[in-house]
Symmetry: C2
Subunit: 422 residues, 2 copies
């Protein structure tokens, strides 16, 4: 009889995994490599390779400017409508544009203008620093007494829900949080926090970058006002793929995009001198989108839709539970700490493990041991599980290599290094 620490146990789990076949839909050039960074950059879908060749060689090379009328103009709404199915929104409530940061900027400004007289934006210290920078930049620019109120997590792992609820009041214009926090993987309850924000008349913006594609999201049902999210993580859209934004339909024409770009103009080719916003969500487009990077988002989204978000979540929970089981048996005795929530209902699809030699271990994994996790200061090794292509055996192997990095003191030679992207 096998136990979880046996490799054959992992193989048995893979053998009964009805999503296992999706792994073949992705390029995998190095069978030795365990890739646990799908939450930073998703793998390349095989279909994307052909699409890229078609986009460049035929659509651009042969069709030239005609490409715009042969599909390029529709990409932001067409791909947005597919992403909508992953996040419980209607097709006309999601659009693809710009980067997550630029989209967040547009929505923050729009939210503040929609709540005049309210000066406060509430967020937490577990949010993406990039989101906090955008809030700060927006507030500094407006210079009208706005301020950010940060709720601090007591343990760096769990979101400070009670503190946030305590901060919400009549001065709150906006509550904005990461649905799944980037470091610990804490999963906020969108419904409860949106209801609390609405109870004091505040708006909400959810950053779905670390949840879209792995956690079921029901934006419409939750009453959430706005959301942004990344297409290059679990959506497998490619490096720096443009991002998406969501605005609840009844809010769309109450909000104003401060970056009044020509792609959001009502009659694009009238070339009027005065800006007239397009109806619906299209007014939140800005300049000309990067067509190649934009179009390449689609195959990855199609794979997620084919797998089904509920099945992906079930597998993701089984895999993070399995990883935690292995951590407890194999890694905790070697000094690894669990820096993610124990409760799967409050957890996304990545697990963070701390270790006093965290950075050295991370670099040994990358450079010597054939594991690609990523590192987040101060000591955090982040293991991203993408249920579409991560196998249980991947997890087992990764844990064995994490153990090896410590038992063989592989971290020693990296002690002087500084963190980089991976």
């Amino acid at each position: 009889m096998t136990t979880p620490t046996d490799a054959t146990y992992a193989d048995q789990l893979d053998a009964t995994d009805d999503l296992a076949g999706f792994r073949q839909a992705f390029v995998n050039d190095d069978p030795h490599l365990i890739y646990l960074d799908g939450n930073s950059l998703g793998r390349l879908p095989r279909a994307t390779t052909d699409l890229a060749a078609d986009l460049v060689r035929r659509q651009w090379g042969s069709r030239l400017i005609r490409g715009w009328n042969e599909g390029w103009f529709d990409l932001p709404e067409r791909i947005g409508a597919k992403i909508a199915r992953l996040i419980g929104a209607d097709p006309d409530e999601v659009i693809v544009a710009d980067s997550t940061s630029v989209n967040l900027f547009k929505l923050i400004i729009a939210a503040l203008r929609a709540r005049p007289g309210r000066e406060r934006i509430i967020s937490d210290d577990l949010n993406f620093p990039s989101d906090l920078y955008i809030i700060q930049g927006a507030i500094d620019m407006l210079g009208a007494g706005h301020e950010i109120a940060l709720a601090y997590s007591s343990d760096g792992i769990h979101g400070p829900v009670e503190t946030i609820l305590g901060l919400l009041d009549q001065t709150t214009a906006l509550l904005t949080l990461s649905h799944v926090t980037f470091k610990s993987g804490f999963l906020y309850d969108i419904n409860a926090l949106t209801a609390a924000a609405h109870a004091v008349g505040a708006l909400t913006i959810w950053d779905l970058s670390h949840s879209v594609g792995v956690v079921p999201i029901h934006l419409k049902e939750s009453g959430a006002d706005m959301a942004v999210g990344c297409c290059y993580k679990y959506l497998n859209g490619g490096p720096g793929a443009p991002a998406f934004l969501y605005i609840r339909r009844d809010l769309q024409e109450q909000l104003v995009n401060p970056i009044a770009g020509w792609m959001g103009q009502r009659n694009l080719f009238d070339f009027d001198l005065a800006y007239q916003p397009a109806p619906g969500l299209r007014q939140f487009l800005t300049g000309t989108p990067p067509v190649v990077s934009l179009a390449l988002i689609e195959p990855g989204v199609d794979l997620l839709l084919a797998a089904g978000i509920e099945r992906l979540r079930a597998k993701s929970v089984a895999q993070t539970e399995y990883l935690i089981e292995l951590w407890q048996q194999r890694l905790a005795p070697l000094g690894y700490t669990l820096n993610s929530p124990r409760d799967p209902a409050r957890r996304g699809s990545h697990i963070s493990l701390g270790h006093p030699e965290g950075l050295g271990i991370d670099l040994a994994l990358i450079n010597e041991l054939g594991v690609l996790p990523d590192f987040r200061t101060p000591d955090n090794i982040r293991l991203g599980i993408a249920p579409l292509y991560t196998s249980f055996r991947d997890i087992h192997t990764a844990v064995e290599r994490l153990a090896q990095a410590v038992t063989e003191q592989r971290y020693l030679k990296y002690r002087d290094h500084r963190p980089t992207v991976t």
Copy 2:
């Protein structure tokens, strides 16, 4: 002896054109097609096809997240430094980021903050409507008494230079114009207008979208403060390629990017909660750039650098002069008007021809006659000459087909159509 209206005359010009060989560096699948829309979407360089395959299949597919440390992080500055050589700037004065519209937004806000107490932005009615929309959006957002003062061209062709000079005064925060106007192709004198703006203490932003790659530009020498420009027109960077921005070095750290994205943060991977701008121009980066679309800009820029901007300008002037000569002999008698400046020193690299049946002619050219120009309301057929790959024979053939569209009344069946992108 041949005359300009003979096809052999064009062939003789091509035979002595020392840039003629560059045409082979571009994909050209349809020898019948005359492509005169390189000012909307440049052709596909052959080298870009291979680069796209490498980017997607190897850099993303095999190298995965490691791609960031293997070149992706450097792309904005590395490609920016090459574009700098096309516009007379130092390598650290140009960066590639976002779209032209988003870059313009960032710079307008930065300019207004750098000129407190001055409420006016001056532009003209020949500017890209997209730029005017961005100005309007920025002003509406700030809501602090800012206003736009538009100078109107008397003939729709020539820039209203005298009116602009008359508008400049102590209330002017910013003068922003297209270097080459998108419809008529009028070419402003950057040096003279920058000096005039500086004389009243105003800043300048030049939109170089229709001049970069075909007109020599000497930003540093001119003292220009800021500039933005497009990479998908004469730079041949691909549909919706990210744009560039220029800030004169001594201004870079006086200005503040309102969209304080993580790519512009000083220590990217410290994940500090507080934003600290990176030194130099890097603070004007925002979110994660669309790597595939961004990287594909480079081969087109390399070709322009190899050809040399002075040689490209000489050929461009010869070609627009030739086109005007043929217009006069062949097209003026058929009702075509010249909607671009006669003086080559005041003209970019495209020629606009008006005709009462302009839209129908445009559609007949596209759908029946094998010419791709583009159309700009109300009656304007815009013929873009990209000296890197447009031949004199192309111009001759295009003129013959423009004549044919009228003599055979090909426009009749398109009278009910509306303008689209081409």
